[in-house]
């Protein structure tokens, strides 16, 4: 028990040092823009489909659920606000981060872990190329950059999904849907805060993913365990951080 706790704190310390090292390596990424673009493609663009499909379903479910409740109070016209606020404040950043951890985070861990297991990282070091700069930093930056964009996409598609259900199927007035959103969604309180969550989650999830890959035990079992840990740890981190951030943002 004590041994495990010690091990946990040791990992925590290692990951913090790793993060500092990563920050130092970041500027070098801009010397290799092509590498960064390539990583943004594989981390961000390739996650776009799952994000959009999930976003539209979440939006549609919100439309249905919200309607069922609101109609009891005769407030069905406010459906747009319910959908938009739920998405912008909570579901957008959180669900995107969870999906991102599963789709892109696990891939990052497995890729870096396998590079370590097959001595590619070692080989790079011996060629006097810092794997931190060549491999880890571009992937981290790509992840941290893509997440907020994916969050925005998720929210936009979600609001359209809600519109489709609310206006298209349940017959709410289209003008009311949009004007209520425009009226009640505040830029600073809602959109800005939602995006901050997206940025923070992006940094944390990608950090965990690249750290787990870099820190993996270089065997097939080690890589598989690291990949699992990426998904589990980053999901937990996202949910816990969401609570903390929400608390801070609404000043409770």
């Amino acid at each position: 028990m004590g041994h495990r706790a010690l091990g946990m704190f040791e990992r925590l310390g290692r990951s913090a040092l790793f993060f500092l090292q990563l920050l130092v390596s970041l500027p070098s990424v801009f010397l290799r823009p092509r590498l960064l673009i390539q990583e943004i493609y594989s981390v961000g663009t390739l996650s776009l489909l799952i994000i959009m499909v999930s976003g539209s379903f979440v939006g549609m479910v919100l439309g249905l659920q919200g309607y069922v409740t609101l109609v009891k109070f005769g407030a069905a016209e406010s459906l747009g606000v319910v959908v938009a606020l739920s998405l912008v404040r909570e579901l957008g950043p959180v669900v995107t981060a969870l999906l991102f951890a599963g789709r892109a985070g696990s891939a990052l861990t497995a890729e870096i872990g396998l590079m370590k297991a097959t001595e590619q990282l070692s080989g790079m070091e011996m060629m006097a190329v810092d794997p931190m700069k060549r491999v880890v930093a571009p992937r981290f930056l790509a992840g941290a950059f893509s997440m907020p964009l994916l969050v925005t996409t998720f929210i936009a598609v979600g609001v359209l999904g809600g519109y489709f259900v609310g206006v298209g199927l349940l017959g709410i007035d289209s003008g009311a849907y949009w004007s209520q959103i425009q009226d009640k969604v505040d830029f600073y309180d809602d959109i800005y805060n939602g995006l901050i969550k997206g940025v923070v989650f992006g940094i944390v999830v990608t950090w965990i993913a690249v750290f787990e890959g870099y820190d993996t035990i270089p065997t097939s079992e080690g890589v598989s365990r690291s990949t699992t840990r990426t998904v589990v740890n980053s999901s937990l981190a996202v949910l816990a951080l969401d609570f903390v951030l929400t608390g801070l943002m609404f000043g409770i």
Partner: protein, 272 residues
């Protein structure tokens, strides 16, 4: 080979290193002379690969000094270490090719990372290096499409890219068919002499290694147990070394010598 007493390029003095509570090196001393092929042999698990990583500065010794070309590897700043590594080539057992790049790009990798040469020149250099290992035609293949021997030759071309002063070979003969093996043996000798390299060859394949080595060290239990030219090694009086050099089966017995008594081990749980 050119002169009688070539200058010492790498010195290892009183090296101590352990991992996970296991002592791997316990006062290891050796010297590697410039221009020669020096073999480091020993049974599996004696830390031969670890030694290469220590020389390359990827691991830190607990005690002792490793000097490469007069520089204390573990006292260098990160920048100096990276500068030194540019002058070292290392051939990993698996080749360690970057799997997302083609053969051509793998060999071009050191040039792209460390130089600002124009594309046309990189192309020429890469083709020259690939020609030297006989794989110019394989340039568009991906590493996953290569056989073990080919991958190792590509890795060798890459290790030579920056014209290093030395190349470290980690078990270059393991898992190759006899013909490929012959190629690699010859290639190592030819490159060493043609390019004036210094080679360190870590291996447990006694016959192939001694056929090209100028000097050889046999290590066991963290120390050098015997050293000399292949000729003098063949006349060794040390029984252990003799058995290691000559027989595979006897070796196994010697290695288990220190283990617990077999019967005790089998009955251990019930007796306890």
């Amino acid at each position: 080979m050119s002169t009688e007493h070539p200058q010492v390029l790498i010195e290892v003095e009183n090296l101590h290193f352990s991992r996970g509570g296991n002592k791997i090196f316990d006062g290891l001393d050796l010297e590697i002379r410039a221009g020669q092929i020096t073999a480091i042999m020993g049974p599996s698990g004696t830390g031969k690969t670890t030694l290469l990583r220590l020389i390359g500065g990827q691991l830190r010794p607990e005690k002792g000094v490793i000097r490469v070309d007069g520089l204390d590897v573990h006292r260098l700043s990160r920048k100096e270490l990276y500068a030194l590594r540019k002058r070292m080539g290392m051939l990993f057992q698996t080749g360690a090719l970057l799997t997302d790049l083609s053969v051509f790009e793998n060999v071009a990798f050191p040039y792209r990372e460390h130089t600002r040469l124009p594309e046309a020149m990189i192309r020429d250099l890469v083709l020259m290096k690939l020609e030297a290992v006989g794989l110019r035609t394989a340039r568009n293949l991906m590493p996953s499409e290569l056989s073990g021997g080919m991958a190792r030759r590509v890795a060798l071309a890459r290790a030579m890219a920056l014209d290093p002063m030395m190349i470290m070979y980690d078990e270059p003969f393991t898992g190759l068919d006899p013909i490929t093996l012959g190629h690699i043996v010859e290639l190592i000798r030819r490159l060493n002499d043609a390019l004036g390299l210094t080679s360190i060859l870590v291996s447990h394949d006694v016959e192939e290694t001694l056929s090209i080595a100028d000097y050889a060290y046999v290590i066991s239990e963290g120390k050098v147990v015997e050293s000399g030219t292949p000729k003098t090694l063949a006349e060794t009086t040390n029984a252990w070394v003799r058995q290691f050099l000559e027989g595979e089966t006897d070796k196994a017995e010697l290695l288990t010598e220190k283990a617990k008594d077999y019967l005790d081990d089998l009955m251990g749980e019930r007796r306890a």
